[in-house]
Amino acid sequence: MSTRRVVLVVGSGRSGTSTMAGTLKTLGLHVPQPEVAADATNPRGFGEPRWMVDLHDELLKRSNVQVSDARPRAWLDAGAISGDHATRERVTAWLEDQLTGHDELVLKDPRAAWFLGLWRACAERCGATTSYVTMLRPPTEVVASKQTNYGRMGAGSDRGTVTRTAAWVNMMLHTERATRGHQRRFVRYADLLEDWTRPVFALGEAFDLAAVKTAMAVDIAEVHRFIDPSLRRSSMSWDEIGAPPRLRDLAEETWQALDGLADDGGDSAAAHARCDELRVAYDDQYAEAEAFAHSSVLAARREAAARARDEAGPQGATGRDVADRVPHAVRAMVPPAARRGLRKALGRERGEA
C-alpha cells in the first residue's frame, strides 16, 4: 500500500487553518514551496503554497466564484471546471512533483474548499490517499476576526457581517458535504489552542501519518512555541453582528451540528441527516433573499453593462451610437448625397422602400 498522503486543511478562513497547517508542517509534513508570505493578518504565516493559491485564483475567476461566496449554486459553478482534463493534468503533474521526495503533504488554502474533487482525483492519480481536517470555530468569532483583519465590507451602516455570516454557513455546510464519506476529522480551533497534542495525535492515527506518529521531541517543542493561545482574541455577539434572526438561528444551529462532529463518534448518520436539513434550509433562505433583492441584482447588471460600454469608448461604439449623438438639426444640414455616403460608411444603408 502506498505511503503517500495528502492532507487538506479546510474550513472557513480565520478558523485556525493556518495554525493547523503550520503544526503539521513543524512535525514533518511537507508544505510545497514557496509559500505565501506572512503578513499582519497572519504573522506566523499562512502555510499556503503559492502555486496552489494562484491556481485557485485562476479557477475561481473562470467559474465566477468568490473565495468567500454565499451562493449555494457557486458549488456547481466551481465544480463544473473541476473535471477539466487540462486542469487535472496540471494539478497531477504538480502533485507528482511535490510527492517525489515527500510522501506526506499538507495543503491549505481557504479557496481549496471549492475544488476538493479536483484535488482528490489528482491525488488518486498519484497513488496518494487524501484526508481532510476541517477546522471549526464559532461563526461569531470568525465574522469578528474577518471584520478586524479584512476590514468592513461596505461604507455606512455595515452589513458585511450579514454577508460574512451567510458565506460561513454556505462554506461550512458544503465543506461537510464534500468531505463526507472520505477520511476526515473535525478539529475545534479552541481545542487546538488549549492542548494541541490531543487533536493532532488523533489525526496522526486516523490518517496514518508517519511524520506525526514518529515526531521527535524537538519538533513537538517547536509546535509549542508556534501555537500562541492568545491568537483567539476576536469575538462579537450576535447583536453586534446584526444578522436577521432567521440567518442567526441557522448559523447557530449549523455551529451546533458541526461542533458535534468533532466529538468521538460524532461523525454519524444522524449528524449527516441534520447537516442535510440545514443545507436545504440555507438554500431556501438564500433563494428567498435573492428574490427579495432581485432589483439590486438587475440594477448592478445594468450598471456593469453601462460601464463596459463606457470602457469600450468611441472605438467600441456602433455607427448608430455615433450618428445618434449628433443632434437632428446638425444631421439635417448634411446634404442628401453626403448623408447617403455617410450611411454607407457606417453600414446603415436604407432600403429603397
Partner: protein, 312 residues
Amino acid sequence: MVDIASLEGLPEYDVTWPWSAGDTLAPGLTCVFRVRNEARNLPWVLPPILAAVQHVVFVDNGSDDGTPDVARRVAQEAGAADRLTVLHYPHRVARAGGEHLATPATSVHSLTHFYNWCFSHVRTTYSMKWDGDMVLTPEGAGILRDLAWQLEATRAVVAMPRHPLTVVDESTGWLDLSLRFLEPWVYPMGPDTTFVKAFDWELREQPPGIERVVLQQGLVVEVKWLDADEYAHWRTDGVDFTNTRLYRKLREFEVDEAIRSGRADQLGGLVKVTAPPGVHVIDHVSRDWLWRQPRPLVTHSLPSSLRERVRA
C-alpha cells in the same frame, strides 16, 4: 392517489409519484436501473454507482441469469446493501421501435409506463437512469458523487458522453471513439420530468429552458461483449427502428461486424486497447487508460459514412 393507472388494471403496477403520495424528497441522487440478464456486467457497473449516489433502485425485468442476486451480493460486498432496493417488473416490455409505437403508453407493456413506474420509487430530489452495461470510471464516480450535492441549489439536467467498449477477450477490447454519444442522464424529480411516449422509445420530459450541465468525455464506457453476439438478430430479422437516432444503432452493428471479420482497424474511430497481464480490459480502460489519453477523446459527432446513410 394514483397518477397513472395501468391499462390492464393491475394496481400493483399503477404509477403514484412521491409528490402525490405525500412523500418528501430527500436531498441527493438516486440511480434507477431497468435490467434483464446483466449479471455478467454488474461487478463492474454497480460498485462505482454505489460510490456515487445516495440510493439505487434496481428493477429486474425477467432475468434468468440471477441478476437480482448478483446485484444484492455486489451491494453487500460494497457495504451498501441498505442503499439498494431490488424490485421486480414481471411484464414483457415492448421492444424499441415499431413494437413500442404500437403499444399504448399506459400499458404495463409500454416502455413509457415501465419507466414511469420505475422512477416513481425514487425518493431523492434528483434521479438518474443507468444501463446495466455502463461502467463509470473512478473519476466519473467522484464527479457524480459531488454533483449529487452540488446540484441541490438549482434544477438542471446533466448530460454525459459515453464510449462503447467491445470486449473481445479478458485482455483485449476495442473502444469506439468516433461518435459523441451525449445523452442527458440526470434529471431533477418533479411532475415536469416524467416520461412520455416518443416514436421509438420513451422520452423524459424537461421544462423548457432548464439549465444543462455537460460532463467531460472519458468518464463512462458502455460494455459490449463480442461473445454475446447481441446483434445476431439484426442479421436475421433486419432492424426494427424508424430512422430517428438510427445512426447510433447502425454504428454499433458496423463495429461489431468489423471486429468479427478482422477489419476493425480499417473502420476508423476504433482504438484497440490491450490490458497488462492479470488485469481485465474493462478495469484497465476505466481505471487506468482513459484518463491518460489526450483530449478531446472524440472529435466528431457523426462519421462521414453514417452522415451519408442518414441523408439517404
